[in-house]
């Protein structure tokens, strides 16, 4: 599954927030979308998941255009938002049933996957709980379970490291690795650069709405003539340089 972003320009009002973004996420790849607060990460994600309509450009998932064939596009995509979004009136079990219904999955098969994930994230004995009974971290885990139980081929994960305990972060990274092995693509936005450096295959560096660079850490070290430097150092240098300009 390949996600292709071509010349994407967009924003909330007439003034574009992101300008002429181009990158792709390949089969079995974990791509890190890196940027400071306000760099345009969330806006880019909102365009990819179809919550915002681009001013210019195209978003394709294996050739399927989001705005031409929305249902087909969306059946291949699952999303984990930065802040958990759950229905107050639905129990955990019902959130899973809702996901099965929405993605038209085979219930037996889907429940098997869901049960494994619930066990991993220690939610298996909380199936009849309502969101009001969950802590923020638990709500985030519910979002993770509901997304990764689907057969989606592209996973969009927005700032996953906020609100999760270290064990849950480790579990999430394991689940991501498994999905990668099965051929899915993952786009993960974050500003926790140390973790991103360790786990992401490639990075898209955003600053002030523009794509500064796409590639591996090695590519950046060569491009910016900064051998041995970490992703954090390279990104900070780019951001500071932009601020001075």
């Amino acid at each position: 599954m390949t996600l292709s972003i071509e010349h994407l320009t967009g924003g909330y009002t007439q003034t574009p927030v992101i300008k002429d973004i181009n990158f792709d996420v390949k089969n079995g790849e974990l791509m890190g979308l890196i940027g400071l607060n306000g760099a345009g990460k969330s806006t880019t994600i909102n365009h990819i998941i179809g919550l915002m309509q681009p001013m210019k450009g195209k978003i394709l998932l294996d050739g399927v255009d989001l705005w031409q064939q929305p249902e087909e596009y969306k059946s291949k995509l699952a999303y984990i938002p930065e802040m958990p979004i759950l229905y107050d009136e639905l129990t955990l079990r019902e959130h899973i049933e809702l996901t099965i219904k929405a993605y038209e999955m085979n219930p037996t098969q889907a429940w098997k996957t869901a049960n494994e994930l619930l066990k991993t994230f220690r939610l298996d004995n909380k199936l009849d709980w309502f969101p009001a009974n969950f802590s923020k971290g638990m709500r985030q885990k519910v979002m993770i379970v509901c997304a990764f139980m689907t057969n989606a081929e592209l996973f969009i994960v927005d700032e996953p490291f906020l609100g999760l305990d270290p064990l849950a972060i480790d579990d999430l990274l394991n689940v991501i690795n498994e999905k990668k092995r099965s051929g899915a693509s993952i786009l993960m936005s974050t500003h926790v650069l140390d973790t991103a450096e360790k786990y992401c295959d490639r990075f898209a560096l955003l600053n002030e709405g523009k794509l500064k660079a796409v590639g591996t850490l090695n590519d950046f070290q060569i491009k910016y003539q900064a051998p041995q430097q970490s992703l954090n150092d390279i990104y900070l240098a780019i951001a500071k340089c932009d601020r001075h300009e």
Binding site: G50, L51, E71, I85, Y87, D88, A102, D128
Partner: protein
């Protein structure tokens, strides 16, 4: 402290007026007036059947007057940060509370007035003496004030004898109704004066229980917001979800058309704090008139109005579903959102129509009633499904 009270009082007044505008603007009020009119008619018909000297009149009067002594509550206008920012002013808290007491006593007079007007015919029927009736209503007023003062004493640390005082007030109301109104009122005045002087002493020596006072006020505000949320969107309201396992059958019936949206609508309607409760209350209220009245026309109309009121409240379920971004991320056709809402509403109308007609049959099993009820429910269903619900969704979308 006076200045703070004045500021808050003005802000509170403004907030109440703002929400009242929504409440009174809505065509819902017209329907409610009709409903209250129906209840009034049923009440007046019932009154006509009563004769003096009925055995249950005195116990009933005692019960109602006793309940009226409990309709008051402290209006404190305190907020969470006060326990930090106003702590230094605790020595002057009695200035603030005195203003608050005046306001609370004044506000409590409105429900008492309404209750007194409603119960006046019964009092007159039982006692045949305007002076006695006046004394009993005055006793209730004093009882109400005494209970409010007790509530203020509870805002300070220390022993409070709330239950004993409340029982004493109720007992004195009972003495007034059953034996001697004069004795009752004298006793109540006595306990009121005692309570007032006790409060003065507590103001001087007591230690203010900030957390409790803030909780009392936030509970009161929540109840108020809950009331307003029946008519309009209220930002500050905390949703209180209940599982209601017993209503799973209704959920299944409402989501018989098996889609993502009916799955959501049915669960939110039945389990959400405000909507589920409201539907139950309206059905019970409608059933009360249906079950006890003999007037076919009244019953048919009340049945239709009840269905109408239920649907115009339940249709708001569209909002939380529409506002959750996942309905736009899931691979589902968002256009079905409207069709599926109509399907759920259709089933709600069916439940209400069948239930109310069945209850109506208890007191009036005539063909005219069945025919009238079916026709009226059908007419209201067409109005709701063809006109009201689509118009409502269009308004929300814009």
């Amino acid at each position: 402290m006076n200045e703070i009270w004045n500021d808050r009082s003005k802000k509170y007044q403004k907030m109440i007026l703002k929400y009242l505008r929504y409440v009174l603007n809505d065509h819902l009020v017209l329907a409610l007036l009709f409903f209250v009119g129906g209840l009034g008619l049923a009440y007046s018909n019932w009154l006509k059947t009563l004769e003096p000297g009925l055995w249950y009149l005195k116990p009933l009067l005692f019960l109602v007057l006793g309940m009226l002594t409990m309709v008051g509550q402290p209006i404190l206008l305190l907020e969470e940060p006060d326990k930090i920012f106003l702590m230094a002013q605790e020595k002057n808290i009695q200035i603030y509370l005195k203003r608050s007491i005046r306001r609370s006593l004044f506000s409590a007079m409105l429900p008492l007035l309404v209750g007194s007007v409603l119960i006046f015919p019964l009092l007159a029927l039982e006692f045949h003496n305007l002076l006695v009736v006046g004394i009993l209503i005055f006793s209730t007023l004093i009882g109400l004030f005494t209970n409010i003062l007790t509530d203020y004493q509870m805002l300070f640390y220390g022993k409070n004898l709330k239950l004993i005082k409340q029982v004493l007030v109720i007992a004195l109301i009972g003495i007034g109704v059953a034996f001697s109104p004069i004795l009752g009122v004298i006793g109540l005045i006595g306990i009121f004066i005692f309570n007032l002087s006790l409060l003065g002493k507590i103001f001087k020596q007591g230690s203010f229980y900030w957390n409790k006072a803030i909780k009392v006020e936030s509970n009161r505000m929540n109840r108020l917001y809950h009331f307003f949320s029946l008519f309009t969107t209220v930002k500050n309201i905390q949703p209180r979800v209940k599982r209601r396992k017993y209503a799973d059958g209704i959920i299944n019936f409402l989501s018989r058309k098996d889609t993502t949206f009916t799955y959501l609508y049915s669960r939110i309607i039945i389990r959400s704090g405000s909507q589920g409760n409201l539907m139950l209350r309206l059905l019970l209220l409608g059933a009360l008139i249906e079950g006890f009245s003999n007037e076919i026309l009244l019953k048919v109309l009340i049945g239709a109005v009840t269905t109408y009121l239920i649907v115009i409240q339940m249709v708001d379920v569209y909002r939380p579903v529409h506002e959750n971004i996942f309905v736009r991320i899931y691979p589902i056709n968002i256009e079905n959102q409207e069709k599926d809402l109509l399907s759920v509403m259709k089933r709600i109308i069916l439940i209400s129509a069948i239930f109310l007609t069945a209850i109506g049959l208890i007191s009036n099993h005539s063909l005219e009633f069945i025919l009238g009820s079916v026709m009226a429910q059908l007419a209201i269903a067409i109005v709701l499904l063809k006109w009201f619900v689509p118009r409502y969704i269009k308004k929300l979308k814009n």
